[in-house]
Subunit: 217 residues, 2 copies
DNA sequence: CTATAAAGTTAGATTAGTCTAACAAATTTT
DNA sequence: AAAATTTGTTAGACTAATCTAACTTTATAG
């Protein structure tokens, strides 16, 4: 399995999480390649039994493909955790580096990271780390946008951890584990006013609140 | 620059250290590829101005090529040091892992390792780490085999750090920094008897003694 | 100084991953 | 239902890295 195919498989896996059916054009967009490229790639992924594909039909990951993808994601997330915990990188820096490291073939390296980290369950963005069999145990959190006024919650994960969001949260001093209380909800734009370890109350847009996954506390 | 070309360049660099002239067949042997493969590769390395090459003539690294190679070796050795110091890998394990990691393109990662390690000058086998400009400052040590009886020395580096040698040294409890005194030299097979932090004296073959680079202490 | 052997080259093929251009099928809009 | 748009396919080309087979040049050994 090549570096390239691993990235396709991961992309398909992530698309699979959000939609049931995966179109070639979506995959092409995500991978930033032309349609003929994606077309020939899915044929070759099919030959390895990682996807099911028929002309003009949407793409589907096989169980085998899902597992393969999960194992790459395991490497990715373990790496992110290691970069954050052991090397002092910020949560907004780790993804880019892990994107390369995830393709290393030497298992020893990832096993040692796992051990040093004490077998972590989640990455620095709160996403679950698949186990060595490729099984993912994901907790079901609720978007902050759906919490009622007066309730106290803890930030546990993010829907999409784009660098921009992470830098925004840094500026607001919001991190995983931050506990906050909903002070007020503005019906007009659905923005919310929250209070946490800062002196002043902070306003969060609906857009942001939708991306923050929380649990009650 | 691809992963593959980086490995060729490194191989040429290492051959260059030992011999003046580098033949394609040697390079082919080192890289475990056929002669036509090595032939077409050197042509392509030449186009990038990393080597000088003319039909039927031995290969030569350009200054540019030497620098490129040194920067890859910098990544390799920094990685080895990090694996040993921060992740608890043995000196016999690090090379194989570093062989993969050295190709990562993300400079941030290597810079952070360098910083965390306190800008080390040598790798876990005592080989010098080239600086960010690709300049190598190599100390000139002496093989243990050339030291006279009665002299006290410190092991500082190895001529060739094969896994087999490293495991042998582990068994003998010899590491970088080990200080030893030559007790006796056997003229017949040039083996030497040494004493160090062990209760008993230890016999080292000429073969081994040639590979251990020492300085007086 | 010829005859082998070793080293190096060329030609041609293969696989992986990519592209553009041209066309076809499916979907959406009018 | 026809037209327009989007989506997907095919054909053909390119680069990188590799191989085998056949040949040539250079080196070595009688
Ligand atoms: Mn990530
Ligand atoms: Mn990747
Ligand atoms: Mn090494
Ligand atoms: Mn390598």
């Amino acid at each position: 399995m090549t570096h390239t195919k691993e990235n396709y498989l991961k992309a398909i896996y992530h698309l699979d999480q959000n939609q049931e059916k995966i179109s070639l054009s979506e995959l092409g967009k995500k991978m930033e390649v032309s349609m003929p490229t994606v077309n020939s790639m899915v044929k070759s992924l099919q030959e390895k039994d990682w996807v099911i594909y028929q002309k003009y039909q949407p793409l589907q990951l096989t169980t085998k493909g899902k597992q393969k993808a999960a194992l790459i994601i395991r490497k990715h997330r373990l790496t992110e955790m290691f970069l954050a915990q052991y090397m002092g990188f910020g949560w907004e820096e780790v993804h880019e580096i892990a994107e390369e490291i995830e393709h290393l073939q030497v298992d020893k390296f990832f096993d040692r990271m796992d051990e040093l980290l004490g077998y972590p369950a989640v990455d620095p963005h709160g996403s679950p780390i698949p186990d060595k069999e490729g099984v993912v145990v994901a907790k079901s959190y609720v978007p902050l946008s759906e919490i009622e006024v007066g309730v106290q919650v803890r930030i546990c994960s993010l829907v999409k951890s784009s660098k921009e969001l992470l830098l925004y949260l840094n500026r607001k001093e919001i991190a995983l584990g931050t506990e906050l209380k909903i002070e007020k909800k503005e019906p007009f734009d659905k923005s919310i006013l929250v209070r946490y370890q800062r002196p002043d109350k902070v306003m969060l847009s609906h857009e942001v609140a939708q991306l923050l996954l929380v649990e009650l506390c």
